[in-house]
């Protein structure tokens, strides 16, 4: 192509604008101080956040990275820090308790995480489509109560429920074994009494999982209810005309349409469950994770290493390992579910 072809066409007299009339607008003189104030104004508004973020998030974060390469007992003061390189990470890799805590964490994450959603999704669907709105609000609020109740209070109540000799759970199982119709199903109960829910290594994890399910299912019900409410009635009507029964409407229409909500709730569950601390800590009496460390989660172990054994460097290293694991688990979730989950119905 020639240069001429590339150059813009000359403006014809018809296309060029007539000269604008002279105007005499009055402009106030620019003040330098005001300009400086204007440019600083946005920073002044967001400075409270920046200061708090730097003080309580950025500094601890970077300090914990630094700390993970040190050997440090906080009792000795800052001067007691010794640089040890990657020794804390190497020791963590060789630490059987850490591996055990990771196993427990993943076990609890799956066993307490999956049922939350399997229960919450259909319950939310029924609440939205089968219950009058006034009653639905009451029921949803009731189901949400465990989530806003202090974990310490919840764990203490369950501690008494699980009590081997006086706990209501064992009493109920015994009672059930004496019932005429379903008694046969519980015939094994008297032989194994008293069931030591919190002091038998193979029962600790299920006991903790039950508390986690009870506490967080209500939260997921609220999320899924919000999701189901967003599905337009017209789409259900179209599904009915297309021949769907109630179950098919749920499976083919409602469930795919709340995909973004499922993705969000699952992300929260993965992150939350991999950081499980309070429930196992209180149910195992803040000991070393219960009998045979069966209830020892990684966050719990992190606490023991840092605050019981005062090995802050090792604790920092473990915290970064846990962070990495959570990041990987979340990335896998995003990889497999992210596209459809975040795409939503756009």
């Amino acid at each position: 192509m020639s240069d001429q072809a590339l150059s813009p066409a000359p403006r014809s007299a018809e296309t060029s604008h007539p000269p604008l009339p002279e105007t005499h607008f009055i402009r106030p003189p620019k003040k330098r101080g005001r300009r400086l104030f204007n440019s600083l104004q946005p920073w002044l508004f967001i400075s409270p956040f920046i200061i708090i973020f730097c003080l309580f998030t950025l500094f601890p974060l970077t300090f914990s990275v630094y700390l993970s390469f040190q050997e440090w007992n906080p009792v000795t003061g800052l001067s007691g820090m010794n640089y040890v390189g990657v020794q804390n990470y190497v020791e963590a890799y060789d630490d059987p308790w850490l591996w055990k805590s990771l196993y427990n964490t993943f076990w609890l994450a799956i066993v307490s995480g999956v049922p939350q959603h399997l229960i919450a999704v259909p319950v939310a669907y029924l609440l939205v489509y089968a219950v009058r709105s006034s009653l639905r609000h009451v029921l949803t609020a009731t189901m949400f109560i465990p989530f806003i109740t202090s974990t310490v209070a919840v764990a203490l109540i369950f501690y008494s429920i699980y009590s081997a000799n006086t706990g209501i759970l064992n009493q109920m199982l015994l009672g059930a074994s004496k019932l005429p119709l379903i008694g046969a199903l519980f015939a094994w109960v008297p032989d194994v009494m008293p069931i030591k829910w919190l002091t038998k290594s193979d029962l600790i994890k299920p006991a903790i999982a039950a508390v986690v399910i009870w506490k967080y299912t209500g939260f997921n019900i609220v999320i899924y209810s919000a999701g189901f409410v967003t599905v337009p009635q017209d789409v259900y009507d179209a599904a009915k005309v297309d021949g769907c029964n109630r179950l098919q409407q749920f499976w083919h229409v409602a469930l795919p349409m709340i995909r973004p909500f499922i993705f969000f709730a699952m992300t929260l569950t993965i992150i939350g469950n991999l950081q499980l601390f309070e429930e196992p800590f209180i149910l195992t009496s803040g000991d070393t994770g219960g009998v045979g460390q069966a209830g020892l989660t990684t966050s719990y172990y992190l606490y023991l290493v840092g605050w019981e054994w005062l090995e802050m460097g090792a604790a920092a290293a473990i915290s970064w390992i846990l962070f990495l694991i959570i990041a990987i688990a979340t990335s896998i979730h995003f990889y497999f579910n992210g596209r459809k989950g975040m795409e939503g119905n756009r």
Partner: protein, 353 residues
């Protein structure tokens, strides 16, 4: 394809009676439009026919069968919704074939029928797209395809064009008309747009406050409206409706309009019309110009002109009344000028008030 009979259908929501004793017969292959203002019960009636709602009393008869207790699926009706109600997570092909999938039709047959339907509606290139990637007109066609693929016994349209712009609406209207001429499935079409109803339907049912006002062909409704509501509803611009009373002066009967103007009453005035009346004059029947012999002549002052391009709408004041007349000659008229409008006597509508 089957006929439809609505026998004494009533529907109440709590104390509010939305439909009152509706009786309609729709023949096989007929295209019926349900027209009326917002809230008149036309969409409710469509939902009762589809099976999405149950009537409080009365029967819905499809073919020879009372279908009150049947689900929408069992009635084999297809419905096109105002919002299209496409499944956002499915692509066009899945949306169209969903009903067949639910009904357990083999996959090969679904693919074939979806392809055939897509070809009819010019959707073949769009089959893999999601609804969010389609324009309003394309979504509307997908909604039509979803209904069409099933070979239903009855088509139900719930204001399917109301979300489209004016140009697309005209285009889709033609497409619906063409489709109906091709498949000849009995169709019920709900709209509040009388132009849509007039252009598409074999017969129109006009509803107001849950009561049928008139059933007839578009021409019947236009030429012989049963009451002032129908007269005002059909036709654009709306018919001029003026209140007055019939008075006798010697042998001649006159119409004395509220405001003091008197018009001659034509011989065609119905026997039943006496005392207080409402007279109707269609704007397109009011001719601008000199007073014509044997016609009703009205002289007034031009209030303002509304140009529409093809014609001007003249707002003319006479007495205390303002009427609209259409001027196809597009004359330049000054505001407040004196104008004379003439109306053939056989075009004057008189309703008992």
């Amino acid at each position: 394809m089957s006929s439809l009979d609505l026998l004494g259908i009533s529907k109440s929501f709590g104390a509010t009676e939305v439909l009152k004793n509706i009786d309609i017969h729709v023949s096989e292959g007929e295209f019926i439009a349900l027209v009326g203002p917002s809230g008149c019960g036309k969409s409710t009636l469509l939902r009762l026919i589809s099976g999405l709602d149950e009537p409080t009393s009365g029967d819905v008869v499809l073919g020879q069968h009372v279908v009150n207790d049947l689900t929408p699926r069992e009635r084999n009706v297809a419905m096109v919704f105002q919002s299209y109600a496409l499944y956002p997570h499915m692509n066009v092909a899945e949306n169209i074939g969903f009903n067949l999938r639910i009904s357990g039709v083999p996959k090969a047959e679904i693919n074939q029928r979806v392809a055939d339907t897509a070809a009819i509606l010019d959707l073949t290139e769009l089959l893999t797209r999601k609804p969010s990637q389609l324009s309003g007109g394309q979504r509307q066609r997908v909604a039509m395809g979803r209904a069409l693929v099933r070979n239903p016994s009855l088509f139900l349209f719930d204001e399917p064009l109301s979300n489209l712009d004016a140009k697309l609406r005209v285009q889709m209207r033609e497409e619906i008309k063409r489709l109906h001429a091709k498949v000849r499935t009995t169709s019920i079409y709900v709209t509040h747009d009388q132009i849509e109803a007039m252009t598409l339907a074999d017969r129109i049912v006009i509803l107001n406050e849950g009561i049928i006002q008139q059933v007839g062909t578009p021409k019947e409704l236009y030429t012989k409206p049963a009451n002032p509501f129908v007269a005002g509803f059909i036709g654009s611009p709306s018919m001029n409706l003026l209140e007055g009373k019939l008075t006798q002066s010697g042998d001649t009967i006159q119409i004395e309009l509220d405001g003091g103007v008197t018009l001659p009453c034509p011989q065609t005035a119905p026997q039943s019309a006496s005392g207080r009346v409402i007279i109707g004059m269609r704007p397109e029947h009011l001719h601008l110009g000199e007073a014509a012999a044997g016609a009703i002549n009205i002289t007034g002052r031009l209030d303002h002109v509304e140009p529409t391009g093809a014609q001007n709408h003249l707002k003319v004041k006479f007495g205390k009344n303002t009427i609209t007349a259409t001027d196809n000659t597009l004359q330049d008229l000054a505001s407040n000028a004196e104008v004379t409008l003439s109306l053939p006597t056989d075009k004057l509508h008189i309703f008992a008030n």
